[in-house]
Amino acid sequence: MEEQDLTGEIETLKKKLAEEQGKLSDADLILSCQKIEPITQVNIKVRKVLKGHQGKVLCMSWSQDKRHLVSTSHDGKLLVWDAFTTNKEHAISMATTWVMACAYSPSGQFVACGGLDNKCSIYPLLEEEPVTKKRLVGTHTSYLACCQFNTSDHQVLTGSGDSTCVLWDVESGQMIQSFHGHAGDVQALDLSPSESGRVFVSAGCDRAANVWDMRSGQCVQLFDSHESDVNSVRFYPSGDAFVTGSDDASCRLFDLRTDREVAVYKKESVLFGCNAVDFSLSGRLLFAGYSDYVLNVWDVLKAKRVAMLYGHENRVSCLRVVPDGTAVCTGSWDTTLRIWA
């Protein structure tokens, strides 16, 4: 088939898809929640400040022990922190600057990271000299933007500036599955909490969020209502929806089972791009970190901002709620991480 015919057919199908998606829309999230009590007060403050990086903090990830976290920075360092005491337990120097991705393994024994080196590497934390026990897991043809362990320490899922995601076997360094469909740099990914090991979502500079079947490698759903790069994506705790944060200064909630956008979190006064998003334990609060240094808290059911949290002195680049929901950690270009509770 010729390019022109293909392009024409793609356009027809896109219209059909939009029609299909509209057919079953018989309710609106925000209207359905009008009778629910609004959140009147959010009493969240900075509880800890983690200082030690010499460059912009680019990524962070919590350990399942709900106490330790790993962070990476523009200075080429990876730090492992005890967040209760703010002590640094490991400092690993990488061969590259801009370490844009890091992840704590489910067992807490390893951390994965990478960035402008295009590589995803793993360090064992229990060894005395983790840096000498580094293991290469996989290499992309452009920078590593995000990574996450897939249910165990044995597999890592990576997203890259080469516009692909790849599932790797840690032990052999073999590619298990690759995911093609983004038309721009992949910026973020998240694994489904309910369809663990079967479904994940990725988002990127093509303004789209793609939902993938991990076994077949197929893109099963695509959401492209953002008007600019999507920087962050996170599943709703039930696994039935996910939220995105974008350079268009909005966050959006997409419902998987209706295949639709169900809420937009934006305000005229919010002008800067959103770099990071996550939910509180129940899913009622949405934390969103922006380039104007603010951590905004949104009421998910009302699409209203309920708090503006100040503290960082440069853009908020990453954030994650502790696995048990007790606190939220933000990382910033001001070189610090802050823990809010």
Partner: protein, 68 residues
């Protein structure tokens, strides 16, 4: 030049396949899924520490009496 063209055609074919599959995706009504989203929040909101602060949050500063 021709390999670039082949790549482009392969990419378009891939996109077409994705779209045809996505058209047949089994969807639920928004009234069903939205009430389940709300239900999930309602059943977990009491135990959400960032909405209903817990007394012994490990990240909070220790009270002075505990220091003595």
């Amino acid at each position: 030049m021709s390999s670039h063209r082949e790549e482009q055609v392969a990419r378009l074919k891939h996109e077409l396949e994705d779209l045809s599959r996505q058209c047949y995706f089994q969807r639920l009504k928004t009234s069903t899924t939205i009430s389940e989203i709300i239900q999930y929040i309602n059943s977990h909101v009491q135990e959400d520490p960032l909405l209903n602060p817990v007394k012994d949050n490990p990240f909070n500063p220790k009270k002075s009496c505990e220091l003595l």
